[in-house]
Symmetry: C3
Subunit: 473 residues, 3 copies
Amino acid sequence: MPDTKWTLSADRFFDPDPAQRAVARELYATVADLPLVCPHGHVNPRLFVDENASFGSPADLLIIPDHYVFRMLYSQGVPLEALGVPRTDGGPVEQDHRKIWQTFAEHFHLFRGTPSGIWLQQELIEVFGVEEKLCGENAQAIYDHIAAQLASPAFSPRRMFERFNIEVLCTTDAASDSLQDHQAIRDSDWSGVVLPTFRPDAVVNLDTPNWRAHVDALGAAVGFEVDSYSALIRALEARRAFFVEMGARATDHAALTAYTGELMPHEADAIFRRALKGAATAEDATRFTGHMLMEMARMSIEDGLVMQLHVGSFRNHNRAIFERFGPDKGCDIPTASEFTHNLRPLLAKYGNDPRLTLILFTLDEDTYSRELATLAGHYPALKLGPPWWFHDSLAGMRRYFDRIMETAGLYNTTGFNDDTRAFPSIPARHDVWRRAGANWVAGLVVRHIVDMDDAREMVLDLAYRLAKRAYKL
Amino acid sequence: MPDTKWTLSADRFFDPDPAQRAVARELYATVADLPLVCPHGHVNPRLFVDENASFGSPADLLIIPDHYVFRMLYSQGVPLEALGVPRTDGGPVEQDHRKIWQTFAEHFHLFRGTPSGIWLQQELIEVFGVEEKLCGENAQAIYDHIAAQLASPAFSPRRMFERFNIEVLCTTDAASDSLQDHQAIRDSDWSGVVLPTFRPDAVVNLDTPNWRAHVDALGAAVGFEVDSYSALIRALEARRAFFVEMGARATDHAALTAYTGELMPHEADAIFRRALKGAATAEDATRFTGHMLMEMARMSIEDGLVMQLHVGSFRNHNRAIFERFGPDKGCDIPTASEFTHNLRPLLAKYGNDPRLTLILFTLDEDTYSRELATLAGHYPALKLGPPWWFHDSLAGMRRYFDRIMETAGLYNTTGFNDDTRAFPSIPARHDVWRRAGANWVAGLVVRHIVDMDDAREMVLDLAYRLAKRAYKL
Amino acid sequence: MPDTKWTLSADRFFDPDPAQRAVARELYATVADLPLVCPHGHVNPRLFVDENASFGSPADLLIIPDHYVFRMLYSQGVPLEALGVPRTDGGPVEQDHRKIWQTFAEHFHLFRGTPSGIWLQQELIEVFGVEEKLCGENAQAIYDHIAAQLASPAFSPRRMFERFNIEVLCTTDAASDSLQDHQAIRDSDWSGVVLPTFRPDAVVNLDTPNWRAHVDALGAAVGFEVDSYSALIRALEARRAFFVEMGARATDHAALTAYTGELMPHEADAIFRRALKGAATAEDATRFTGHMLMEMARMSIEDGLVMQLHVGSFRNHNRAIFERFGPDKGCDIPTASEFTHNLRPLLAKYGNDPRLTLILFTLDEDTYSRELATLAGHYPALKLGPPWWFHDSLAGMRRYFDRIMETAGLYNTTGFNDDTRAFPSIPARHDVWRRAGANWVAGLVVRHIVDMDDAREMVLDLAYRLAKRAYKL
């Protein structure tokens, strides 16, 4: 077994310059132990329903459900079957979690210098107390070590939630979701705060696979048939009201582009009816999504839900993988995005209304300084979300701070969210952000751009206050 | 009152590494006190006509006319009315300049880490001797302090011009402008050099609001009716000749895209006549602008005026604000730009002609390394202007140096211009550039990419010589 | 003569921070003297056929054939004729190589801070032992010095190849090339490894100037008339087989866009026949190239040749220069590129096939983090080439590491290639990469992102192993 001790430096991710590092360390110390505010993510609420729930095996926890992890092995020729990723047809995939773990460990060098590598290392060390750098030789011993802990009550989801010092965790839930898991958590005696987020993509994006089934589910949830555009609007309003009642603070919307544009009610209705007949065109879908985003902004003004818009992911780019394994398998690929023209109709109608908070996310970093920072630096309703997905990384954060902050201003951004379904990575992800933020502000301090009084406010804003304020938490 | 002393570090904006900082300091010292060359900006020449002119109140000087400042407060929910920004309908806005100043001071934290914050701090300290960090508590005392100075003869525009050590200040003037203010300055016994710049956008961009009135004004200026394309050309040539006579060195052109393309004279005439009848289409406007840019290049070759082209700003993106307050209210938003195809017709015809100097400005930083640096690194007629508008910031300058210089070469760039209507911010803006430039060159020195002999030449070029040479000043 | 001694610092290109610099130095030392692997370039193989070949005069070697060099002087008004660049019409250009050298030396300051400046300095010092910084005053003395060396047998191409420690040098060769120079090298007793690369652009891009002549040459090479699409496919397969026999490891393809898409055989044939009649449209050319890229991927899977695709250069942008001097004269200008949609057809068909290695190159750095890193981080067949052309520079490499590595992962990249026709610049170019790579990895080490064990592996991968593995060398 290799003798490489695995440790986490107290100075990790800080610039090496001693002056900047000292300031970064000082600033980071003021926010390192603050509670975690998680306003956007994909953790399954069911985990927290049962006091005694378990995360399963190390492979169940860290590999099989995490497309950040298995895409990297797949890109180097490891079949997803070998990693236990379930097939849509139920066909055979590796069932031996020790073998899956071994394959993962033998390819761990692929994560050198990547955010996944950083998160995994920090999780293994801090959450599970792993003391040696993972590799093929020690893979089984480390598997045993983690498995033993996952089997203990102290590693149940609720206990980890508490140990992680999570102040609030928002999930992402379909418009038709019964929110029974959220209800069960509220009904329990557990004090953890887990809130739903309203995500109606499956019904407002007409090109969603199995769209009709989602509309039917929505109808079932509201108790009336969603057979017209006006019924759809009524159903969405009803569901939003229910989500608000259940503690939701926000909605979430994904779209390939940021296109917005209002339809006349009869146009929207005609498109919706074509879709019900399975006859909607691609253009119908684009126009309908663009219209529904405007409707969502209107509803947000009325019911106070913060509106999140994630733009630019070409989903399921690799059709063979999608057909064999389904969505969210590491083959969503960004495309160039445009906001200046596309968002104008929505901003013209609602952008000056202080009751609206519209938080934008992009996968196209070129829009940071060109479009997003300038839009957010003007429209009262607009705020910018943190670096998203592939850009939720040290260099990604550096680019985000560099290209956005001078023009948008810190106070038109919304702090951090981890956006993850990988629950045990949450502390590591927030820690990367807090360190990156402290280091960025320290860079401003040592360049005499801000003083230490301002710097302390800024790191506190980045780490905690901006997210709470933006999401009304 | 808070006890935060406000100071400017002698090392501000330099990298913290001691080796790089020492070199940056040494290089900066060689250019820190050079006269300011201001080849492009928007200061009102009338300020310098009257020996005893005044800038008005602190709010008049620093807030009400400065869209860099009030857009940031607006983005956080402060109505423009509360900042005294005049309405187009003459409706009521805040008239109490002390209240405006108080609102500004209470939101001063919004400028943390922004270029506006840097300029404002440096102006307040260096121009007005403010010694405390501005905040709500000390707002009125600082107002009194500044107001008292603005009332004294030493703070008249001419005295500040002299104190700022401005060698030359170029303004921006409509094609129909009488240049009477420039004439009055020339006729006075004051030695300050204030030169006009010829900006014909209002007549060559057919989609300008009130285009017809601008054409009529042009006709009035030349003494013949501009009722045909050939009359327009004659009028523009006549006005350019007048501007040259009045000391102009350059023209300036704004366009949404860099599209260029020559029309046949009869095509240009047909479009122009349609426009006179109010019947020009959007496509007419695009083609006419593209054609007129080529005509402007031709005229520049003939009369020697340097041609500036600013591309990519979607003006008045927020229609509600435009209607209520007019243009230049912080709601011009950048769009993606394209130069390789769009400029080709112009470059094919004039790009190899050493008599032409065409200086490009972009709001799309993605074009820096992809298109602009490579075009400027080849075509003799092409030069690149400094980082423009939102990118006239420390990080913006770092990206500009990083992405342009290796490929374009320093000598295909044109130094700095402040592009500002905020007169007292001029020294601060040049200082940021000189420091950023010294720091960039110092980074090359400590990495052994250039030696100190070269470095000294380069900072002098950046701070002073490139602008003088490019603009023939 | 100036007394400026010219030296190369052992620490050049490393960050100035002492901690990072020390690590960079240590890492660099482990790879500094490794043999050079050159899997892609444009050196003329004929140079190595004759034991006694010579590079000619200093101007022949360093100026006249190097568009990186003369474009910079041209951009500042020096006519290409004055630099001895041959005209297509055979008209007069400067023949006095001493005068050409003098002009070059007098403009040497234009290369301050550019990669060309770095390469030239290092070549002059390390290859030719020049001890003084080149300038107008010492130009003739340095000319004499270099000319004397070029005349000696120790400076023949073969001796320089050996002294440079080149392990393998791949050339780029037309599909119809006889490879007689390669054969002559193999037949000689010289042990240098020079391998061909199959580049069929001239026959698969229908819009190539003189396309028909290239098709005829291809027919002559295979011994049958290429008069149909199926004949073209057979001819290409035959030539690829011959290249494989001659040691080729790769093909190379240039396209204005990354568009791929399969045609039905009868469609491809119809287009090909239209082209033979000189009647192909621009759309035909686009579709045919897009189809042939897919055919090339198929053939690569069959014959094992690595497939390289270079996208985004608008060739011969300056028509006047093209007509007067021909192609490759410094006027190829990048355009915005798109990969997510364009490559999807090819990736859908072949992207999951581990037998294919498709290496992508871009001139649009915006695609680094948005598209290329995410595609390469998923598809097993896809790898990313090093920063290309204008971006093969220190800042270009920094951006490449910064924007690609976190998402693609180091192991989906392919190390370095020099891509040069300027043979004596090869060691300098590899040295810049090795230093930049060591410095990047050192930056990860001092930020505690990777440990020294990983770091040593990473710099070895960057400098040597990735290129060998990707190109099967």
